[in-house]
């Protein structure tokens, strides 16, 4: 049996998929969810093989929900917005169905899933802005079983370690599977600067820059935290601060 979860905030949109799936006897619908929070929970609980996912949903978008999953299932997007298609395929989405879609089109998407090799691993989704021209406005993270939405202004700096990035706010740290490189692409270069291989800092939070040892520098944040600046990071910092 193929285990499936449907995630869409419109009950009627879920109904269409249910109806289209009803002819496929080898498919089992484990859950239907109407927002990203519920979707995230259901995926962790049921470990489905395939999800049908809307993009615009209450609280967190379909993309933001996917970013939180360590081992995402195969994803077929179902949305009325065509502007997210590039991002979806960039992130190895299996297919992208534009609402309203026909049964034929739906079956073809399902066919793609069936043609996948058994045991195919789906790569982790990256925090990238949802449209090409946009920039990230917030970061969605999870702590234990709950999901938190971090506004960018609360993030002091980010620290990379292995496959994780920790987002540091005034009082907390949140780990997320992510690379600083993808964040560098998704964040406004004038607000967040990659000052070091392992550090990215919010420009607004910098109190001062001090010389360190022979010809290195450190930034001192408003809360006293000191972060190293690398040789390649220093020119970027200069550019962002405009000196």
């Amino acid at each position: 049996m193929i285990k499936v979860i449907l995630i869409d905030d419109e009950p009627l949109a879920v109904e269409v998929i249910r109806e289209y799936l009803s002819g496929h006897m080898d498919i089992e619908i484990l859950a239907t969810c109407h927002d990203g929070f519920a979707g995230f929970k259901a995926i962790q609980e049921h470990q489905p093989d395939l999800i049908f996912l809307d993009v615009q949903m209450p609280k967190i978008s379909g993309f933001e929900m996917l970013e939180l999953l360590e081992n995402p299932p195969a994803v077929i997007f179902t949305t009325a917005f065509d502007e997210y298609a590039i991002k979806a395929f960039d992130n190895h989405a299996l297919d992208y169905l534009l609402k309203p879609f026909s049964k034929d089109r739906f079956d073809r998407a399902l066919q793609k899933f069936r043609h996948q090799l058994p045991g195919t691993q789906h790569p982790h989704y990256n925090s990238l802005p949802e449209t090409e021209e946009g920039k990230l406005q917030r970061i969605v993270v999870k702590t234990g079983n709950s999901i938190r939405i971090l506004p960018l202004k609360d993030i002091l700096y980010m620290e990379a370690s292995d496959d994780y990035v920790s987002f540091c706010t005034q009082s907390e740290k949140f780990l997320k599977t992510q690379t600083l490189k993808s964040l560098e692409r998704g964040l406004d270069a004038n607000k967040f600067v990659r000052i070091h291989r392992s550090y990215m800092v919010q420009v607004q939070q910098i109190n001062k820059i001090e010389p360190y040892e022979k010809d290195g520098y450190v930034v001192v944040l408003n809360n006293g935290k000191r972060l190293p600046v690398s040789k390649t990071g220093y020119p970027k910092l200069k550019a962002a601060l405009g000196f």
């Binding site: 905030d9 419109e10 009950p11 009627l12 949109a13 109904e15 269409v16 109806e19 927002d35 929070f37 615009q56 949903m57 209450p58 609280k59 978008s61 009325a80 917005f81 534009l98 609402k99 309203p100 802005p129 949802e130 946009g134 990230l136 406005q137 917030r138 939405i149 506004p151 960018l152």
Partner: protein, 332 residues
């Protein structure tokens, strides 16, 4: 009529003037009539010249040259003709003595006419260019308004079609009803594209159709209350001005929150203006990327273009309820 009267008065005045100089009335009438006719001939010639030619600033010397070029022959011809017409030695003496004065008079009259013609031409040009400017401005304004009006979300249409697709099998009657609602709504928005102003009751009807459709899509969590006093029905407002605000309210209410959401629209009249208040709950911790405020800015811009006022859209947030208040002055 007036021209003829002026012509006769002028002739009479000149005749009298000549009489004062000792010219008999019979000679005076011939003299003044001929002189006036020639001068009018000169004016007509000048007018025709300026009909096809309007001097540039650098060519303003033409204003003096043209009267001289025309004035000298007119004066000479006048003198010669009068000399032959009236056989009188005293009058002949007067003719030769007054030649310079006569020439000066002709010159002054022609110059005055030239100046008036040039100024008139310029004024007319200015008037025309201002008219053109106004038309261009109006056209660009209309284009902008049209653009602002047509910010209707295409996603709404696609999602509605998707809902109809869903209802087709399970509730065909409901599907059919939604097709009609959607058509009525689209017709309301498309047809209004041409008209600038609509009755509030009509705008409300379109809004209600829109909200009905949204209720089919999100019925399980969308509550809507509409309160408007009958007295507001006939108030006029720019077509589809409320649509983007209500769309925003639905979007922020439904996508910013989980669970049930109530959106309210209230309309009152105060001091001869129409006030429309739209409220939706929203989550301040959301930091949603959708919060571009584009719809709100478009409405602000449109009202500014129509009324030249910046204070017609007010927003406030109290206890996680976002409120937009729109003031629509009544022009009648």
């Amino acid at each position: 009529m007036i021209v003829l009267a002026a012509f006769l008065i002028w002739i009479a005045a000149v005749t009298y003037l000549l009489y004062l100089y000792g010219i008999p009335l019979s000679y005076g009438i011939v003299d003044s009539t001929l002189a006036t006719l020639l001068i009018i001939g000169g004016w007509l010639l000048l007018e025709n010249i300026f009909l096809f030619y309007s001097p540039k600033k650098s060519n303003f010397w033409m204003i003096l040259v043209l009267p001289i070029v025309l004035g000298v022959p007119i004066t000479l011809v006048l003198n010669m003709v009068l000399h032959f017409l009236i056989e009188n030695t005293v009058y002949h003496t007067f003719l030769s003595e007054a030649l310079a004065v006569r020439g000066a008079m002709v010159f002054v009259l022609l110059t005055a006419f030239t100046i008036i013609a040039v100024i008139y031409n310029r004024l007319e040009d200015q008037l025309k260019s201002r008219e053109r400017e106004e038309v261009a401005l109006k056209m660009s304004r209309e284009a902008e308004l049209y653009h602002l009006r047509s910010q209707l979300q295409p996603h709404f249409l696609f999602n509605s079609l998707n809902s109809i697709n869903a209802l087709m099998i399970s509730k065909p009657d409901k599907a059919r009803e939604m097709v009609f609602q959607l058509s009525d709504f689209l017709r309301g928005t498309i047809r209004k594209g041409a008209e600038q102003w609509v009755d509030f009751s009509e705008e409300l009807k379109t809004l209600k159709l829109y909200l009905e459709i949204e209720k089919v899509r999100f019925g399980h969590r969308l509550q809507i209350t509409v309160n408007s006093l009958p007295e507001t029905d006939g108030f006029q407002l720019p077509a589809l001005i409320l649509q983007p605000l209500v769309e925003n309210a639905v979007k922020f209410g439904l996508y910013g929150m989980v669970g049930e959401v109530t959106i309210s629209i209230d309309a009152v009249s105060k001091g001869g203006s129409l006030y429309v208040v739209i409220c939706n709950p929203y989550d301040p911790t959301d930091h949603s990327p959708q919060g571009s405020g584009f719809g709100l800015n478009a409405v602000r811009r449109r009202l500014y273009l129509l009324f030249g006022r910046h204070d017609l859209v007010r927003t406030e947030t109290i206890d996680n309820i976002f409120t937009v208040t729109l003031t629509i002055p009544q022009l009648r």
